[in-house]
Symmetry: C2
Subunit: 450 residues, 2 copies
Amino acid sequence: MKTTKKIVLNENDMPREWYNIVADMHTKPMPPLHPVTKQPLAPADLEPIFAKELIKQEVSSERWIEIPEEVRDLYRIYRPTPLVRASGLEKALDTPAKIYFKNESVSPVGSHKLNSAIPQAYYNKIEGITSITTETGAGQWGSAMSVACQHFGINLQVFMVKISYEQKPYRKSVMNTYGANVIASPSNLTEVGRRMQQQFPGTNGSLGMAISEAMELAMKDEKTKYTLGSVLNHVTLHQTIIGLEAEKQMEIAGDYPDVVIGCFGGGSNFSGIAFPFLRHKLTEGKDIRLIAVEPASCPKLTRGKFLYDYGDTEGFTPLLPMYTLGHNFEPAEIHAGGLRYHGAGTLVSQLRKDGLIEAEAIKQNETFEAGVLFARAEGIVPAPESTHAIAMTIREALKAKEEGKERVILFNLSGHGLIDMAAYDKYLSGSLSNYEVSDAEIEKSLAGLK
Amino acid sequence: MKTTKKIVLNENDMPREWYNIVADMHTKPMPPLHPVTKQPLAPADLEPIFAKELIKQEVSSERWIEIPEEVRDLYRIYRPTPLVRASGLEKALDTPAKIYFKNESVSPVGSHKLNSAIPQAYYNKIEGITSITTETGAGQWGSAMSVACQHFGINLQVFMVKISYEQKPYRKSVMNTYGANVIASPSNLTEVGRRMQQQFPGTNGSLGMAISEAMELAMKDEKTKYTLGSVLNHVTLHQTIIGLEAEKQMEIAGDYPDVVIGCFGGGSNFSGIAFPFLRHKLTEGKDIRLIAVEPASCPKLTRGKFLYDYGDTEGFTPLLPMYTLGHNFEPAEIHAGGLRYHGAGTLVSQLRKDGLIEAEAIKQNETFEAGVLFARAEGIVPAPESTHAIAMTIREALKAKEEGKERVILFNLSGHGLIDMAAYDKYLSGSLSNYEVSDAEIEKSLAGLK
């Protein structure tokens, strides 16, 4: 009898609530501070920027938060996603480890980002918002918001980091096809954009700048709000649907993970897969490891500092308690655009500080080597971001082999790479950068922050 | 109570046999002829080119042919694929029609082509073949063969039509990532390639030329065989898994299609979705329409002639009885590369001749208009090829609305378009060609054929 390759849930088995880990955290996260007064933020301070219901979720300590019927409806376009036994990879590694992955790449935009884009657009819609602004780096979040806003009849303006806008024209085409308006950032549309262009002539742009621009437009207009695709508590909340489904699926498979692995940018896909499992560690002392994997070129969790920092370049966002490389940190141009962000979300940062999750930084060549091995073994070309999780999975599987131990590994395949093939080209031709940021750079970027 | 969005089958419900429509055809297809002697072909004549088991399938009249366990195993990477209720599209069209689509875009290479690539690589493997040659236009078939050959440890050389090789570098990267060797065609590797370059200096290449090159290498070496991704009987046989799954899923949905629609290049995805339903028309007189949709720039089924023609430019292939525009026909450069082929497969051609299936030709702008509407309504950017099926679906849905009739429409979403966004760019900027081939061109291309 063959082992099942994919564990597939019915639509009716899709979770009806998201899981809020704040309810179970032993040390509660420190409060965000007002960017100007530096005093703890009142929820109302966020109302010029975010939909009210999203603010409520941002500060909630309820354990379970209901997923609205309209959101579940749209989730059904691609959810529940399959849990897949990576039997091809196991064979290629000749490991006694059992490897599973949650396949979020089956989403029509190719990544997990729709999980939060849909509820964010929905809550804005029911609060009467007609326009949304957001930013995007590699383009995954912008594509997801484009689908969601199109569905709910909301105008969307996406500030796309200039270098990605130029180097990845097809990501822009995807957003245009879904009906969104895409602007290269920094732009002339905003004061901050104009200032950035004067201050840094010929700049490539950055996520931090794009966030500042998108926020400026939202702050200026009552019917316009802003959305963010990672870092914040409500985003990680929405993403827990990944891990909640995976839990049910692992139960059907008759296994329980010893280790859960996700790549790490701001925390959205890592938290999504990890928090529902971490819950049992927090509440029942379950012996399980959670590993966040970041690029060696942007290693906030492993080499950054835990302190209050801004989420954007201009300092429009609240000050958040986070592991950070400094909000002026300019990550090297690696291909995992979704991992090029200076800070980690508040929840992950606190959990890391408390020793409840692990973190590893991996250089680009090892991640692409893992990506190619995975593509050949499992038939799916992974997104450059996801190759970080795969590289870590391979390390763990080889360790299990060395130790002669059966170990159950679960990782999140956050997306596919079919739209990012330039990266694979470079890897296969041996011209990929293997950059690791120096201590001096990190120190310089963190100087002046406390 | 919400209607289910997706009908998902378990792996165990995946069909165990392919359906061979030859068994049920009222008029059996005419035999292929030897390219040189012009006498009916003996199966053994194909042995220098194809694996023996595939030849057996090519000439079989058995109704059901077992799917080998190893093939089913690999199918499980992405199969069974979902059947989706296009509720968003229905709403956008305000139609009383119920629209369903079979979502073959969830395959890791983004299209239905793996359905035949896997068995073709498998049968070659068990017959001791170590190298395979093939051709690819848009790159879908080449990508699928790359995955399959990698799995079975077979070397693969893909002759890629030169203009696609240059215009779609990322398709090449996908094949390279899966471990295949990709050559721009016409190349210097083969006699026919060198001759073509002399004869047509600066040529863009064509599928016909690429097939000739791939076949030449296979004919020269005993351990090397050739594979084709469409047109032939054994390819359409493998693709019937699409329709067989869809039949089970429609039953679960409690509906039966009045009309089944697929885009049409050589016949692989159309036959795949249509033949299992056509079976009930042939055997029980079931009232059901099957519509093949081709581009107005390459309309063999609607404006070609039914006669014996070659499948390639050089005349290496057997002469097949087919609707054709002539094997020297050079289709205009539309974006649906998979539909740019001069001839229709033998089985579809005979069924069309007997009035058992319908055909329509649609111009490029209407198809992309349909594609954008679908992307916005259903969240999935369709492949340029698949937009032809969607355009026809919309015509039928609007007709149902005009007539005030509830009608059940099923179409095949053969692939997604995330890797073909240049086409959408052109459409959105209004610079897409809306070319329709002239009668004079078709006459000229058919001159000399009988």
